[in-house]
């Protein structure tokens, strides 16, 4: 690996602070990216990585501190300016035109044509083909984006980045959905970029990758930079240690008592459509099982199988000892399974409806047995739910849109608690929620467990999982890799999640 050009950093952050309300995302972070190097940025979820990226791309402005790009101090950065200054970011969700061809997408993004310009299709196609060839992607420039798989679309995004001739390239979890072969392609592209003098900010959870492709690595923890080292100076274990930092908190979860009835048992459960395979899991009433692992490890996919959205096609699912098959959300709800989805915008609280209407949305059959609405009963139930969860609102008839994010999430939870589930699956219940509401929700989860509900907690927030769960199951690549006892150290969990420990999957 050649020495990165040490003349002047392409990108420099000095003492950067950023807060969102009461939450301090970045506390005085300093960072440097030189041309000709691949600089990895690692840290747990919530450590501040995405905030840092947004500051560099201009989507956010720092509260304090300085940003320098190509040696010039940049005061008011916005995405358009950042783009002009040579910053480009490759996201996981490509911003491509689904109905247009690859060549046309590249043309629109890269050549910023004037309205009266002529389109030279053969040249366009040729250039697109060249860019695709440079990154070794076997994609025809004439394919429509909507016919490409996600990994192929990402490669097109990368070709775009290549085409902009950007000097500062940010890659945010670029290999999340790539196959082995495609990953190798990506690494050669990265090396290519580096050789041409670009500086690459590489964000990834996959430590093997970081060790393969990066020159230096900076660890972020709780909004601060813990250290920047050259890759040769570190071992994987040391890296994990600095990412995780402190040990498990002292707030030992009050255990709900001895093992009770087996509510859910999964044996070799799989769903080929969603990538879930060979999952073995047991959840008893009164216990909170935390599902840990990295984003994309397969939790939400597993939840969707359990909830009947993408039904299982292999293995066995047992509820209370009896093998069942769950074919729709209605089916799952009837079997006393509840699922609080991760995608709040599309599947969460309906903003234009009232709180009462939202809370009763899943229990129509029970609350309104003859089909007639019963406003008084509804309002009463909603009022009770809101009080139980301590939601600050103007009453059950208030519109959901008038609530804060944290309170909206409580209402979403209320909807599912109203179904009186035996098994409650929570998918990222406290993501984006303020710390006070977070604690409340945790307390409520423990209360539910104490009342006998079996809880499956999916969360990318490791401290949360450690705090609240009785047991921890680690997922990786769509399958369960470990079941860990309570009070397992965060370090150990991460090791399994990152694949350092346990069988290769």
């Amino acid at each position: 690996m050649s020495d990165p050009c040490r003349s002047a950093p392409l990108l420099q952050l000095a003492g950067v602070h950023k807060s969102f309300g009461a939450v301090r995302a970045l506390k005085g972070v300093s960072f440097e990216l030189f041309g000709g190097e691949v600089h990895a940025l690692v840290g747990e979820n919530g450590a501040g990585k995405s905030t840092l990226v947004k500051l560099v791309t201009g989507a956010l402005r720092p509260d304090a501190g300085e940003i320098e790009i190509m040696g010039n101090r940049v005061a008011h950065l916005n995405p358009a300016r950042a783009h002009k200054l040579g910053v480009t970011c490759i996201y996981q969700q490509p911003a491509l035109f689904a109905d247009l061809t690859v060549a046309e997408n590249l043309w629109l993004r890269l050549e910023a044509p004037g309205a009266l310009g002529r389109v030279d299709w053969s040249a366009c196609r040729r250039r697109a083909g060249q860019w695709l060839e440079r990154i070794g992607a076997a994609i025809s420039p004439d394919s429509e984006i909507r016919h490409l798989s996600m990994p192929e679309q990402q490669l097109v995004e990368i070709a775009c980045a290549l085409g902009t001739g950007a000097r500062i390239v940010i890659m945010d979890e670029p290999t999340a959905s790539l196959t082995q072969k495609e990953q190798h392609l990506l690494f050669s592209v990265v090396r290519n970029l580096r050789q041409n003098g670009a500086g690459i900010l590489y964000i990834s959870h996959r430590l093997e990758e970081v060790f393969t492709v990066a020159d230096r690595v900076t660890v972020l923890r709780d909004g601060q930079s813990v250290g920047t080292n050259r890759m040769e100076e570190l071992t994987k274990a040391a890296l994990i240690r600095s990412m995780v930092g402190r040990e498990v908190s002292d707030t030992a979860p009050p255990c709900g008592g001895a093992a009770r009835d087996l509510v859910l048992a999964l044996r070799h459960l799989g769903c080929s459509a969603s990538g879930v395979r060979d999952v073995n899991l047991e959840v008893r009433s009164g216990e909170v099982v935390g599902l840990a692992g990295l984003v994309g490890a397969g939790w939400t996919e597993l939840a969707r199988v359990l909830f009947g959205i993408t039904p299982a096609d292999s293995g066995e699912l047992q509820l209370n000892g009896r093998a069942v098959s769950i074919s729709s959300p209605r089916d799952a709800i009837d079997r006393r399974i509840a699922y609080l989805p991760e995608d709040r915008r599309r599947h969460g609280v309906i903003l234009d409806m009232s709180l009462a209407q939202n809370i009763t949305l899943a229990i129509h059959r029970r609350l309104f047995p003859r089909g007639w609405l019963r406003p008084r009963a509804e309002r009463q139930l909603a009022g009770d739910s809101l009080r139980a969860l301590n939601v600050k609102a103007g009453g059950p008839d208030a519109l959901a849109a008038s609530l804060s994010g944290g309170n909206q999430q409580k209402v979403a939870l209320a909807r599912w608690l109203a179904t009186q589930p035996e098994l409650l699956i929570l998918d990222e219940p406290t993501q984006g929620v303020d710390i006070g509401t977070k604690r409340e929700i945790h307390r409520r989860i423990r209360d539910l467990a104490n009342q006998g509900v079996a809880v499956l907690l999916i969360s990318s927030d490791l401290p949360e999982v450690l705090d609240v769960s009785d047991r921890i199951c680690v997922m990786r690549n769509g399958t369960m890799v470990a079941t860990l006892p309570p009070k397992t150290g965060a370090h150990t969990v991460m090791a399994y999640a990152l694949g350092q420990k346990g069988a290769a999957v």
Binding site: G21, A22, V23, P329, H364, L373, S402, R415
Partner: protein
């Protein structure tokens, strides 16, 4: 990271702005009252009971279609074929009565069945094949009208219905126009479905967030299919009343009715995107349009002015509700 806590908008002013549909209907009621007062002062025969009955008679079919379309639009869909389905049902009704010699009321019941079948065709394309309602019903609009023309060979007309049947459209019950009870029952049934039953709640949820409704266990496919079949049945009913009123069934029955029906629904405050809307709003919308066109005749204005004003009214009402929504949104931030 959480955003700052939002202001509690349940204060009276915030509440007022936050319920655009309520405000919309009040505005419409105001317009209706103003129309009535104006035409009353300008046209001597306008405010009479007899004229009111006239208005009711002439607007009952469009009123029924507007009622039928309200649940459809609530779910975020649309049905352009209701007018053509009316024509097809009218023709089939006539044919069953005249050529198959079915008793007239049985043929009328069959007309409702045909309406249900037509609605089921729409429902199948939209829910099973997941095709966009706008284009599906554009296709069935042509198909139904075309079948009506085919059955009548383009020229046939069915007339000579028995007096007892024609009384439905032209006669009276207890001094009221005979179709009024049917219209009333229809309005009550639809109102109850939309506002007092689980169906209406599901429809709104589907209109706001179809995927989210599915995750909440609502049988989206079934609920959506129901609105189109229901619209079909009501088209059949409207076909019977239309035939009774005019005394004849022709293939061009109901041409253009869907447009007035949609206008009434949107004017009444139902959002074309779904979720928001009310049956009383729709009825107000129908009334506003009907009173406008009737009143202009009494004011000795040409009929066409009614159409123009209706169009303009629709645009203004829409623009007003969008602006109100934006105002509410900005306050929220």
């Amino acid at each position: 990271m959480d955003k700052t806590v939002h202001a509690d908008n349940s204060s009276r002013k915030g509440w007022f702005l936050n319920s655009p549909w309520l405000r919309h209907e009040s505005l419409l009621l105001l317009i209706l009252v103003l129309e009535w007062l104006y035409f009353n002062s300008v046209g001597p025969r306008f405010g009479t009971l007899e004229n009111t009955y006239d208005i009711l008679r002439h607007s009952s079919e469009i009123g029924l279609l507007a009622l039928a379309l309200t649940p459809v639009i609530l779910t975020g869909g649309i049905d352009l074929s209701v007018g053509s389905l009316l024509g097809l049902c009218a023709i089939l009704f006539g044919k069953l009565w005249r050529d198959a010699h079915l008793p007239v009321w049985e043929a009328a019941a069959a007309a409702l069945g045909f309406g249900a079948a037509g609605g089921a065709v729409n429902a199948w394309f939209i829910t099973k094949l997941r095709l966009p309602p706008l284009i599906v019903t554009l296709g069935t609009l042509s198909l139904f009208r075309g079948l009506a023309e085919a059955v009548t060979h383009g020229v046939d007309t069915f007339t000579g219905f028995p007096g007892s049947f024609l009384a439905l459209g032209q006669g009276q019950i207890f001094g009221l126009p005979a179709q009024l009870p049917l219209l009333f029952v229809g309005a009550v049934v639809i109102w109850l479905m939309v506002h007092s039953t689980v169906l209406g709640r599901s429809w709104r949820a589907i209109g706001f967030a179809a995927e989210g409704a599915r995750y909440a266990g609502i049988p989206v496919g079934r609920r959506v299919a129901l609105v189109y079949v229901l619209a079909g049945i009501i088209s059949g009913l409207a076909a019977v009343i239309y035939t009774a009123r005019l005394g004849q069934a022709k293939a061009d029955a109901g041409t253009g009715y869907e447009l007035f029906a949609i206008t009434a629904v949107v004017l009444g405050g139902t959002s074309i995107f779904g979720g928001i809307g009310s049956v009383h709003g729709t009825l107000l919308g129908v009334a506003a349009i009907a009173v406008l066109s009737n009143g202009l005749v009494h004011a000795r204005q040409p009929r066409e002015v009614a159409g123009m004003l209706t169009g303009a009214l629709l645009l203004i009402a829409l623009a007003a509700s969008v602006l109100a929504k934006n105002l509410a949104n900005n306050r929220r931030r």
